[in-house]
C-alpha cells in the first residue's frame, strides 16, 4: 500500500527554528495547514516529548512527532518539515534532527499500514539525508514515493 498523497501545505522546507519545540510546532503547523489537525494536537505532540523524552527521534537526524488520536485530529495526516539548521532533541544517539515528520491518526488501528509503508521508505538509509537536502516539494514527494493530491495535479 503506497502512502497517501501529500499536499503541498503539509510540506515545509528549510524552516528556521530555535529548538525542538519549534521543530515539532512546525510539523504541527503543516498538519493544521493541510486540514488534518487543530492547534491543540500540536500542543499534545510537544507534550508527549515533555512527558517521555526524545524517544521520537527514531533514527539519526529524524524525529517522528505524534500523539494519540483525539478530537483534534480531523483526518489521518502526515507532514514533512526540513530544518535550515538542525536542532537537538536530547537523544543520546540520533541528534541533531534535520527532518521532522508529523503524524496524526484518528484511530489506533488505521495507522498500521501507514507506518509500515513509512518503514519501507526509511529502510533505505539514504532517504533521511536526501530529504534534509531537498530544496523543492517534488523532490520530497519523490523521495517518499508519494504523489500530490488530485486537486494539485
Amino acid at each position: 500500500m503506497p502512502l497517501p498523497p501529500l499536499p503541498t501545505a503539509a510540506i515545509a522546507i528549510g524552516v528556521h527554528v530555535e529548538d525542538w519545540r519549534g521543530a515539532v510546532a512546525a510539523a504541527g503547523d503543516a498538519l493544521e495547514r493541510s486540514g488534518s489537525t487543530s492547534p491543540e494536537y500540536t500542543k499534545r505532540m510537544i507534550g508527549v516529548i515533555d512527558e517521555f523524552g526524545a524517544y521520537v527521534v527514531i533514527a539519526p537526524g529524524l524525529a517522528l512527532a505524534h500523539a494519540r488520536p483525539g478530537p483534534d485530529v480531523h483526518a489521518e495526516g502526515l507532514s514533512v518539515v526540513t530544518l535550515a539548521e538542525p536542532v537537538a532533541f536530547g537523544h543520546p544517539h540520533n541528534d541533531p534532527v534535520s527532518v521532522v515528520l508529523g503524524l496524526a491518526v484518528t484511530s489506533g488501528d488505521e495507522h498500521v499500514l501507514l507506518v509500515a509503508e513509512l518503514a519501507n521508505v526509511f529502510n533505505d538509509p539514504h532517504v533521511i539525508p536526501a530529504l534534509a537536502a531537498a530544496t523543492d516539494v517534488d523532490s520530497i514527494r519523490s523521495l517518499l514515493g508519494v504523489t500530490a493530491p488530485p486537486e494539485e495535479q
Binding site: 524517544y55 518503514a119 529502510n123
Partner: protein
C-alpha cells in the same frame, strides 16, 4: 515467544519498531508474536514477554520486568534489530 515494541503513546514509533522487528525475526527464522504498546500498557503486557524493544529514553519508564530490555538506536535499521535480537534470543 512474545516480544513487545514499546513507545510513549503506543502508536507511530512502536508500530514502526514492530514492523521492522518482524522483518528481523524473519531473517533469523524465529517465530514470535510482536506487540506494539505504550508505557501505560507495558506493566500488564510485559509480564510474560521475553524481550522488550524500546528507545533508550523509555527504559526507566518500564519498571520491574523479567524480560530482556533491548535498546534500539535506529528504528529503521533492520541490521541493528537483527543483531540485537539474535543476541537477546540466542
Amino acid at each position: 515467544m512474545k516480544i513487545i515494541a514499546l513507545c510513549g503513546v503506543g502508536i507511530g514509533t512502536s508500530a514502526i519498531l514492530k514492523v521492522n522487528a518482524e522483518r528481523a525475526l524473519a531473517r533469523l527464522d524465529i517465530e514470535a508474536d510482536v506487540t506494539a504498546t505504550d508505557v501505560a500498557g507495558v506493566a500488564s503486557m510485559g509480564f510474560d514477554a521475553q524481550v522488550i524493544l524500546t528507545s533508550s529514553e523509555l527504559v526507566e519508564a518500564i519498571g520491574k520486568t523479567n524480560a530482556d530490555i533491548v535498546v534500539i538506536d535506529n528504528y529503521f535499521d533492520v541490521d541493528e534489530l537483527t543483531a540485537k535480537l539474535e543476541t537477546a534470543l540466542g
